[in-house]
């Protein structure tokens, strides 16, 4: 057999999988967005009705707003905490591997476990409020107040993911040549100046990565609000995927659910493109 033919044969699993599970769904989503369909009765062409509905759907905008609230808290918190611990781990200390392993435990565990656990920690008479009471502070209505619920989920998500970013920042820090700091020291740069003019710019690729992965994560939130709050109170934790899920499987509006998916995917592309455009820098080594 000719080697070229063998190449195609070896790639056949991917080609078939791509056609069935990527190309077809992508094409079919373009059909769905112009239809009304409950799976059972025949599809009905509705033209642009789904998009018109979307443009005036307050829950769609609410889900979008909730996602941006989540990202506005999650991203800075994640970068600050991850950088802080990565800097500490980057010193020549013993037991670094053990600490790294400990910070990483929540990363490998299912989001379902983390959510059930934090639901108890966040309970009105739960561990966190008891801790606050011991410190002489008031109770926080973590999951029961519409203004606290999304920030609470953002804090939980940071706790779950930050171990991964600590490891990534640590690898980034270890890649920065020592001479840069030595040269800066000779020129009399303070530690703070070194951080802002050497460390941070050199870590730019990792920062961009954290931004992009967190953004995708924010738009993929599902099981956290599903278990903790069901999207409430007052839709304050309704996430993009939870809303798609509700439209599709509570109300059987496949056309509209596909339209929501289409819109959120477009917004993800846009946000990630903007982040790369404004944050990404060339790093010279």
């Amino acid at each position: 057999m000719r080697r070229g033919t063998v190449g195609y044969l070896l790639c056949l699993p991917y080609i078939v999988h791509f056609l069935v599970f990527m190309a077809y769904p992508l094409g079919f989503s373009l059909v769905l967005v112009f239809h009304k369909w409950d799976i059972v009765s025949p599809m009905k062409w509705v033209g642009l009705a789904n998009f018109i509905r979307l443009a005036s759907d307050s829950l769609f905008f609410r889900a979008l707003y909730n996602t941006f609230i989540f990202l506005a808290i999650h991203i800075p918190l994640q970068i600050a905490v991850a950088l802080f611990f990565a800097e500490l781990l980057n010193r020549k200390l013993r037991l670094i591997g053990l600490f790294r392993a400990a910070y990483f435990v929540p990363v490998v565990v299912s989001g379902v476990v983390v959510t059930i656990l934090w639901q108890q920690l966040y309970a009105d008479t739960g561990v966190l409020n008891k801790l606050l009471a011991k410190l002489g502070l008031g109770r926080v209505p973590w999951l029961t107040s519409p203004s606290w619920a999304m920030p609470s989920i953002a804090i939980m998500a940071t706790w779950k993911n930050v171990g991964l970013y600590i490891v990534m920042f640590l690898a980034g820090l270890q890649g920065i040549p020592r001479e840069l700091y030595e040269a800066a020291e000779l020129d009399g740069a303070s530690k703070l100046q070194q951080f802002f003019h050497i460390t941070l710019p050199m870590l730019n690729p990792v920062v961009v990565l954290v931004l992009v992965l967190s953004t995708i994560g924010g738009f993929s939130l599902f099981i956290e609000p599903y278990i903790m709050t069901g999207g409430g109170p007052l839709n304050s934790t309704l996430s993009a995927v939870l809303y798609i899920y509700k439209q599709a499987f509570y109300f059987y509006r496949m056309g509209y659910a596909a339209t929501l998916g289409f819109a959120f995917a477009l917004i993800i592309f846009l946000v990630v493109a903007l982040q790369r455009r404004f944050v990404e820098r060339e790093v010279y080594v």
């Binding site: 190449g7 476990v113 599709a248």
Partner: protein, 273 residues
């Protein structure tokens, strides 16, 4: 340069405090699952009267053993097939030349960027058309090939010396036996990375099972536990936490044994960007 020891003490204290923040909640969860209901909101790790009551309730109300086997079946099938197909395609894309290779690789990179929100509903419709809803096929088949897995294998295979492959060809080896007899034994790091990432993602996935499975007997473990925690079946806190402990147990055990591999594999997801 002399460093005063107190800075070390400070670093260690902060690192230790951090470790407590990440690990203590899990210890608390395990302890709470053995506590009587009234004691659960306390900080302590030692139950006054340890009991298995919470676990008894979980086993009573959820087919947890069956869901564990379902999860195992799904995660193992998906991982095995991602390794076999992923390395086949990765080999084809890195070591054989054919006309559409560049195009295929471009398509591969493109599909890695498509947000799943876009394909979720149409893929569910496909499952309905195939009559795969409430079958293992729906849980397994869509995951049998992973673009990211192929990508990692391709990158890794590029670094294998061409001489080895040429020598095998002269000895009359076919391409498949080159892949499985020569390339596979040389590719342990890539296999471990793809294997761990795939198994973990499959074991922890909950959205897709929630979309395609309604029948309790076919539910995977995260799905069964999530629905147990949400539905009225767990009015008590203890059983919810016990179910969460059972769900965490397999992956944490694996993590304890392969800790370094887990950390390094996950950190490698950075390559995606």
């Amino acid at each position: 340069m002399y460093r005063p020891r107190w800075s070390h003490v400070l670093s260690y204290s902060v690192l230790l405090a951090g470790a407590l923040v990440f690990v203590y909640p899990f210890l608390w969860m395990v302890a709470a699952s053995f506590k009587p209901e009234a004691e659960i909101p306390s900080f302590g790790l030692v139950p006054s009267r340890p009991s298995l009551e919470s676990y008894r309730i979980v086993f009573d109300r959820v087919p947890i053993g069956r869901s564990f086997l379902n999860s195992l079946l799904v995660a193992l099938s998906v991982t095995a097939s991602v390794l076999v197909f992923g390395s086949m395609v990765g080999y084809g894309l890195s070591r054989l030349s054919f006309k559409a290779r560049g195009l295929l690789f471009g398509v591969l990179l493109f599909t890695m960027m498509v947000p799943f929100q876009l394909t979720l509903i149409p893929t569910y419709v496909l499952m309905v058309k195939f009559r795969w809803v409430d079958t293992y096929l729906a849980l397994i088949v869509p995951g049998t090939v992973s673009a990211f897995g192929i990508f990692l294998f391709r990158q890794f295979f590029m670094s294998i010396p061409q001489d080895l492959i040429d020598a095998a060809r002269i000895d009359g080896c076919g391409e498949l036996s080159i892949l499985f007899r020569i390339i596979w034994p040389l590719s342990k790091p890539a296999m471990v990375t793809v294997g761990i990432l795939t198994f973990m993602a499959s074991w922890n996935d909950v959205l897709w099972p929630m979309v395609v499975i309604r029948e309790p007997k076919l539910m995977t473990m995260p799905q069964a536990v999530a629905l147990f925690a949400v539905g009225g079946r767990a009015e008590l806190l203890g059983p919810k936490l016990a179910a969460a402990v059972l769900l965490a147990l397999p992956i944490i055990s694996a993590y304890i044994f392969f800790q370094r591999h887990f950390v390094e594999s996950m950190a490698r997801t950075g390559l995606k960007g």
